[in-house]
């Protein structure tokens, strides 16, 4: 077996790969979940997922986008986006979170934590999420206070993600 690939290709591939996860294979749970077909991730608190849905909802409305428009921007099915916004128990697909982070210019790692795709290591993320969810209402138009609340929450998420990186 020969690879027959130039050294430059390997280097370019390594740069492209960056720090993303690469694992593949049958998953393992420890301990085994009690319910068959349970989500493959350790779920965060419901408040975290509620905050995730609220954040997506607010950022979408801030841009005056419909769900359909967000679906177009993210290339994610509108039904999945509806579940993200409306159903706190819904486990968003990693690709959905990735696309939302891109479109809304959010820190992907922070959003992964909020969406329950990775384990939350920083209690402050939970605190900020609960505070944000508790302060948000489902009115049609964002008030200046709600706009400010979204901005503060996004800033806190990014700051906490950076702080976590520095600590490790």
């Amino acid at each position: 077996m020969k690879l027959e690939i130039k050294r430059e290709w390997f280097l370019a591939a390594a740069r492209r790969e960056g720090d993303v996860e690469v694992g593949a294979g049958r998953i393992a749970f420890d301990p085994e979940p009690e319910v068959e077909g349970a989500p493959v991730q350790a779920l965060p608190t419901e408040a975290m997922q509620l905050a995730f849905g609220k954040l997506v909802n607010f950022l979408r409305r801030k841009r005056s986008w419909s769900i359909e428009e967000l679906a177009k921007q993210t290339k994610i099915d509108a039904a999945e986006l509806l579940l993200v916004e409306k159903e706190p128990r819904h486990q968003a697909e990693p690709h959905t979170v990735f696309q939302l982070a891109n479109v809304f210019n959010l820190n992907f790692k922070s959003l992964q934590q909020l969406a329950g795709l990775v384990v939350v290591r920083n209690q402050e993320v939970v605190t900020e999420a609960v505070r944000f969810a508790a302060n948000s209402d489902s009115i049609e138009k964002l008030s200046p206070e709600q706009t400010r609340s979204v901005e503060l929450f996004v800033a806190a998420l990014n700051r906490l993600a950076d702080g976590e990186k520095a600590q490790q």
Binding site: L3, R7, F10, E17, A28, F29, Q41, A42
Partner: protein, 206 residues
């Protein structure tokens, strides 16, 4: 005894320097010793921390590579590869030529190389350390799978079930086709690469 397939470069993240590594054609006992003495303590520590605060821990947190190698001993359809750098195992992969057939409609039923397990050392992973040490381990192992597929006359066709946090790598970096969650595999998403996609990947084209 394993042999070197090729000397390949990894990137040392801290300095962005190129570092020589070896892609080897078999996982040996020395690699399993690395897993047991160097990988496992880091993985176990993180797993305990996660389990204490968040209940069941998913993903490759307790893959037992020694057991996996024991299970495939003597099976002609199973092969293993690893990457060594600085005398330490940086990534391991087990592939099968018999476990799965292609699922994409236009190559449905054809032979492919199925990546049974692929894992990078914990110090090369963002979910275990804040600053990963080497970059490129995943790409090299995927290249090995493609090359192995070609050497078996499968034209570069490969398939795998991605761990949840690795979708970005297989969808965006490797440009494999995402066939969605597989209910028979804990709803892990199944990705497949066609010969054309393999060609593009090897040419470095998006």
């Amino acid at each position: 005894m394993s042999t070197i397939i090729e000397r390949v470069p990894l990137i040392l993240c801290e300095t962005r320097a190129e570092v020589e590594a070896e892609l080897r054609d078999c996982i040996e006992d020395s690699n399993l010793v690395d897993w047991q003495t160097k990988w496992k303590p880091i993985i176990d520590k993180n797993r305990e921390r996660q389990r204490a605060t968040h209940g069941p821990v998913a993903a490759a947190s307790h893959w037992d590579w020694r057991e996996k190698m024991e299970n495939i001993r003597g099976l002609l359809s199973e092969s293993s590869f690893c990457i060594e750098c600085e005398g330490v195992t940086q990534g391991m992969m087990i592939v099968s030529t018999a476990k799965q057939r292609a699922r994409i409609e236009r190559q449905k039923g054809q032979h492919l190389v199925y990546v049974d397990y692929l894992e990078a050392a914990p110090w090369n992973r963002g979910d275990h350390v804040a600053k990963p040490r080497f970059r490129g381990v995943g790409s090299i192992l995927i290249i090995a799978a493609i090359a192995f597929s070609r050497s078996n006359e499968f034209k570069g066709r490969i398939g795998l079930h991605s761990l949840p946090q690795a979708h970005e790598f297989y969808a965006e970096r490797c440009r494999m086709t995402d066939l969605g969650p597989d209910s028979k595999y804990h709803n892990l998403r199944y990705f497949e690469m066609t010969p054309e996609q393999a060609d593009k990947f090897l040419e470095g084209k998006e």
